[in-house]
C-alpha cells in the first residue's frame, strides 16, 4: 500500500503520526482539531481492523481538500463533545491560547481586503473567550471614559459637583451585550434561511458569527479611551476611523457569503449590518459622552437656519 501512505504523509500529518503508531487504527474524515480524539478513540475501539482501516484510509484520501473543507464546514458548529448539560461542551468553546487570542485581536484591528476573518483567523475554532471579555471591557471602558469626559468638560464650573454616574455601567452593559448577542442571532438566522433553499457550503455557524461580532468590537475600546480628549473634531474623526475598521471586518467576512444571492438582497444585507454597527457607535457616543451640546447639526450647511426662521416668521 505505497501510494496511500505517500498521500497520507503529504496531507494528514497528525493522522500519519498516529497511524504510524498504530497501523490498525481507522481514521474518520472530520475537522483537523478532532483528528486526535477520533483517531485515538477509534484506535481504542477497533483494535485489529487492519483491512477495514486500510479501506477507511483510502476513502479519506480520495476526497480532495475542498471536500475536507466542506465536511469541516458542516461540522463547524458540531465540534462540541457531549451534550449541552455537560461542562466539557462549554469547555470546547474556550479552547484557545494567549497567542491565538492576540492574533485574532490583531486581525480585527487590521482588516486586509481578501482576508476573511472567519476563514483566516478563526479556522474552525471559534471561541467565546474573546467576545465575552471584549464586551465586558468595552462596557466598563465606555462608562468610565464617559464619566471622565463629563468631569473634564465641567471641571471649571463652580456649581458642578462630581458624581460617579454608576448607573451608566448598567445601561452600557445592557446595550452592548444585547448588540453582541441579538444581532449575530438575527444575521445568522437570516443567512441560514436564505441559504436553506440551496445547499450552500459557505455558511457560518452561529458561534463563528458571534465570534466575529465580538472581535469586531475591540477597536472601540481604545477609541472610547481616546474620546476623553475634549475636542469634537477629534472625536468624530476617531469614531469614523473606528467604524470604518470594524465595519470593514464585518463586510469582508459576510460579503463572500452573501454575494451568491441576488444583487438586491446582498447589498441590503451588508448595508443593514453596517448601519446597525454605526448606530451602536454613534448611540454610545451621544449618550455617554454628552458635552452639553445639542445633537450635532450639519455644520456644512449654514444657509438652512436662516431659511427656517424666515419661513416661521412668514407663517406667523
Amino acid at each position: 500500500m505505497a501510494s496511500p501512505d505517500d498521500l497520507q504523509f503529504q496531507e494528514f500529518e497528525e493522522a500519519a503520526e498516529l497511524l504510524s503508531a498504530d497501523p490498525g487504527a481507522s481514521t474518520l474524515s472530520m475537522s483537523a482539531s478532532n483528528n486526535t480524539t477520533t483517531a485515538t478513540a477509534a484506535a481504542a475501539a477497533a483494535g485489529g481492523g487492519g483491512g477495514g482501516g486500510g479501506e477507511d484510509v483510502k476513502l479519506d484520501l480520495s476526497e480532495d481538500e475542498e471536500g475536507q473543507e466542506e465536511s469541516s464546514e458542516l461540522l463547524g458548529g458540531q465540534k462540541a463533545t457531549g451534550g449541552f448539560w455537560t461542562f466539557e461542551y462549554y469547555q470546547s468553546f474556550f479552547n484557545v491560547d494567549t497567542m491565538q487570542v492576540l492574533d485574532r485581536v490583531k486581525g480585527s484591528v487590521m482588516p486586509l481586503p481578501g482576508r476573511n476573518f472567519i476563514k483566516h483567523h478563526l479556522r474552525n475554532n471559534p471561541d467565546l473567550y474573546g467576545p465575552f471579555w471584549i464586551c465586558v471591557t468595552l462596557v466598563f471602558s465606555v462608562a468610565i471614559s464617559g464619566n471622565l469626559s463629563t468631569f473634564l468638560s465641567k471641571m471649571g464650573d463652580p456649581a458642578y459637583h462630581y458624581r460617579p454616574q454608576f448607573h451608566r455601567v448598567t445601561i452600557a452593559a445592557v446595550v452592548i451585550f444585547m448588540y453582541a448577542w441579538l444581532v449575530p442571532i438575527g444575521v445568522w438566522g437570516f443567512l441560514t434561511w436564505r441559504q436553506g433553499n440551496e445547499r450552500q457550503i459557505g455558511g457560518y455557524s452561529f458561534l463563528e458569527t458571534v465570534c466575529v461580532y465580538g472581535y469586531s468590537l475591540f477597536i472601540y475600546i481604545p477609541t472610547s479611551v481616546l474620546w476623553i480628549i475634549p475636542y469634537e473634531w477629534l472625536r468624530w474623526t476617531l469614531i469614523l476611523v473606528a467604524m470604518a475598521i470594524s465595519g470593514s471586518v464585518l463586510v469582508l467576512t459576510f460579503w463572500p457569503v452573501v454575494r451568491d444571492d441576488t444583487k438586491v438582497m446582498a447589498v441590503a444585507t451588508v448595508a443593514t449590518i453596517v448601519v446597525l454597527h454605526m448606530l451602536l457607535a454613534i448611540g454610545c457616543k451621544l449618550y455617554f459622552f454628552q458635552t452639553g451640546v445639542l445633537l450635532p447639526t450639519p455644520a456644512t450647511d449654514p444657509t438652512t437656519p436662516p431659511i427656517h426662521t424666515t419661513l416661521s416668521t412668514q407663517r406667523h
Partner: protein, 228 residues
Amino acid sequence: MAAAEEASRPFAGLSDVSISEDIPVEGDISVPVASSRRDEEFSTLDEPVKETILRDLRAVGNKFIHVLYPKRSSALLRDWDLWGPLLLCVTLALLLQGGAADSDDQGGPQFAEVFVIIWFGSIIITLNSKLLGGTISFFQSLCVLGYCIMPLTAAMAVCRIVLIGGSGTVSFAVRLVVVTASFGWSTFASTAFLADSQPPNRKALVVYPVFLFYFVIGWMILTFSPSQ
C-alpha cells in the same frame, strides 16, 4: 473457634490447674477507652459557642495574614472558607454608602450593585478559569478572589479618613496613590495563588479578568465622593 482451639493446645496440660486469685489476670477484652475519647475530640457539639466562633475567626485571621504576605503557600487553597470574603464584601459595600446623594441615580453604586459586582464577578472569573482548563476548584477560587479584596477594603477605609480632612486636589492625589498601590497588591496576591493552577500558555488569559475585576473595584473606591 479454630483460633480458640489453637490457643488452648499449649495449655492443654493445664486444664486441670485452677487459677488462684493472687495471680493477676491481665488483658483487656472490652473496647479500648481511647476510641471514645477520639470521638469526643471530633465532636464539637458540646463545646462552648465562644470556642466555635473563635476557631472560625482564627482561621479567617490566618488567611488575612496570608494575603498580607502573599507567598506561594497552599494554606489558603486547602482550607477554603467564604466567611472572610463575605465580611470584606459587606464592609466594602457599607463603606461605599453615604456617598453623593444615594437617592439620586447619578450617584455611586448602590449596596446591591457592589454586592453583585463582587460576587458575580468572582463567579464569572472562576468559571472562566475553569473553562480554560484550570485545576483549581470552584470554591477555592472564590475564596482566593474574595480574600484578595482585603487591600482594597483597607484602601477604602483610608480614603474615607482622608476625605474627612477635605476633598481637594491633595486629598485626591493621596487617594489615587493609595488605591493604585492596593489595586496592584490585590492583583499580585491573587495571581500568586491562582497562576500556578493554569496551563502555561493561557496564564495571561486568566490573569486579565482578575486585573479587570480589581480595576473596577478600585475605580468604585476612587470615585467615591462624599455628600456635601
